[in-house]
């Protein structure tokens, strides 16, 4: 997965307001824990992928939905084949389950990161009169998730260059060293990114306690209202399916 730092949605067919995206994220994490059925999560994930594609990232959406398809296929197959060895079934169940469980949440975080510009995010929430002190950490949080992944890849390459492998075996044999070799470089390079980010926001006058004007157009469009209704409906549906599954209905 290539992670670029700055999300963009200019190529998209639709533009979704950041507030709607955050609502989708909240719905996703609720669906993950309150829905007990594959069908609920699969349905939800497909809609999320379609939305991703419409917002100008069709390739990402395609990759994600292919992965989802494979996992669902494996799960369906496992239900039908009885003679398989216990160990393989156990391992496959764990892998596919973790995937299914994490998919909606990770996908919606990825959706926010990939398709939102930070300035758009800031101005949308400022329009809601959320104080700057609450918005900035959240915006930086989402901005920083891909950075951490990127730093991690860089560190792995740098360590491999020096002949230090970060394989699971090494982690178990030398836990103390691994912590030092991974964590310290990551913190160092992340910290310099933070310093730069702080300087950039300072230069934009974020530190002033006045209302900031913005070129961004902040308005909930028809698409946003439609999405809000759609995701609320899907959440209710997922909850209903979960209730049915709990009561023993076979789905």
């Amino acid at each position: 997965m290539d992670l670029t730092f700055y999300g963009e949605d200019v190529k998209g067919l639709i533009r979704v307001d950041p507030r709607t995206k955050v609502l989708i994220f909240i719905t996703s994490s609720l669906v993950c824990v309150s829905s007990y059925s594959d069908i609920g999560i699969a349905m939800y994930s497909v809609v999320l992928c379609i939305l991703f594609a419409l917002c100008g990232k069709p390739m990402t959406a395609l990759k994600a939905s292919l992965a989802l398809g494979v996992v669902l296929f494996v799960r369906a197959m496992m239900g039908n084949s009885k003679g398989a060895p216990e160990v393989i079934v156990m391992v496959l169940t764990l892998i596919t389950t973790s995937f299914m469980f994490a998919f909606p949440t990770l996908m919606s975080i990825y959706f926010i990161v990939k398709t939102t510009r930070i300035s758009h995010f800031l101005s949308a929430f400022q329009a809601m009169h959320v104080p700057v002190k609450a918005i900035v950490p959240v915006a930086v949080f989402f901005r920083f998730l891909p950075t951490v992944t990127d730093e991690w890849n860089g560190i792995r390459k740098a360590m491999a260059f020096r002949g230090i492998s970060l394989s699971p075996v090494q982690i178990i044999v030398h836990p103390w060293k691994t912590i030092e070799f991974i964590l310290i470089p990551m913190l160092f390079s992340s910290m310099s990114v933070m310093e730069e980010l702080a300087a950039a926001t300072m230069a934009r006058g974020m530190d002033l306690e006045v209302r900031r004007s913005s070129y961004e157009e902040v308005k909930l469009h028809a698409v946003d209202y439609l999405l809000i209704v759609l995701f609320a409906a899907m959440f209710v549906l997922a909850a209903v399916i979960a209730q049915m599954a709990k009561e023993g209905a076979v789905l």
Binding site: L30, F144, I179, L183, L187, M194, E195
Partner: protein, 204 residues
């Protein structure tokens, strides 16, 4: 950079969180959550390891937390970290989320006792802060039947039964103990690492 750090507090000793501090808190929260999720994903495959994740998270993540609070040194750093942690880690179960935020507030109070100067209290506050690792499990203790339904559906009978057999009434307390123990080990590592790397570089 070190010079700038030294001049700043002298010219304007301000207790308020500036945007710079907010950026540090948000970014460290991102690192914290990513590392925590990695550990949970690796440990989540075995019921026993899954239940003692607070220990591992405490050992590894202490350095990140300490660096964050030592870098900002104002009221709010631990709280922001705690809130972002709570929202991502235990958003599925609201009481758990509020407990996690409360724990972060307690950690903030521990730092407050040290008046945001004493390094000892900065370090000690993580022992409290790491209790929030128990909160994602609160679903299991406070809302057992629905958690079991979920685990059975997702992971299958044997895994759910494994978790159920381990999650006895004393388990939350054992987990809290493990969280504090992990945090204690982590804090020892963190103070060593920070002294070795970051203080030398003049970062904290």
């Amino acid at each position: 950079m070190a010079k700038k750090e030294m001049v700043n507090p002298a010219t304007q000793p301000d207790k308020k969180l500036r945007v710079k501090d907010l950026i540090f808190a948000g970014a460290f929260a991102a690192i914290y959550v990513v590392v925590m999720l990695l550990i949970v994903m690796v440990c989540g495959t075995v019921p026993v390891l899954y239940l003692i994740t607070p220990l591992f998270v405490g050992i590894v993540c202490a350095t990140i937390y300490e660096l964050c609070v030592l870098k900002v040194r104002k009221f709010g750093a631990a709280l922001i970290l705690g809130i972002l942690f709570a929202v991502t880690a235990s958003s599925g179960y609201l009481p758990g989320m509020f407990i996690a935020i409360g724990v972060a507030l307690l950690a903030e109070l521990v730092i407050l006792i040290g008046k945001y100067k004493s390094k000892k209290f900065f370090l000690l506050s993580y022992l409290v802060f790491n209790l929030n690792m128990v909160c994602p499990f609160s679903n299991l203790y406070l809302n057992r039947s629905s958690f079991m339904a979920m685990a059975t559906e997702y992971y299958g009978e044997s895994y759910a039964n494994g978790v159920a057999a381990l999650a006895t009434s004393w388990m939350p307390f054992a987990q809290m103990g493990l969280a504090v123990l992990g945090a204690a080990i982590g804090v020892l590592i963190a103070s060593k690492l920070i002294k070795k790397h970051f203080e030398k570089a003049g970062i904290v």
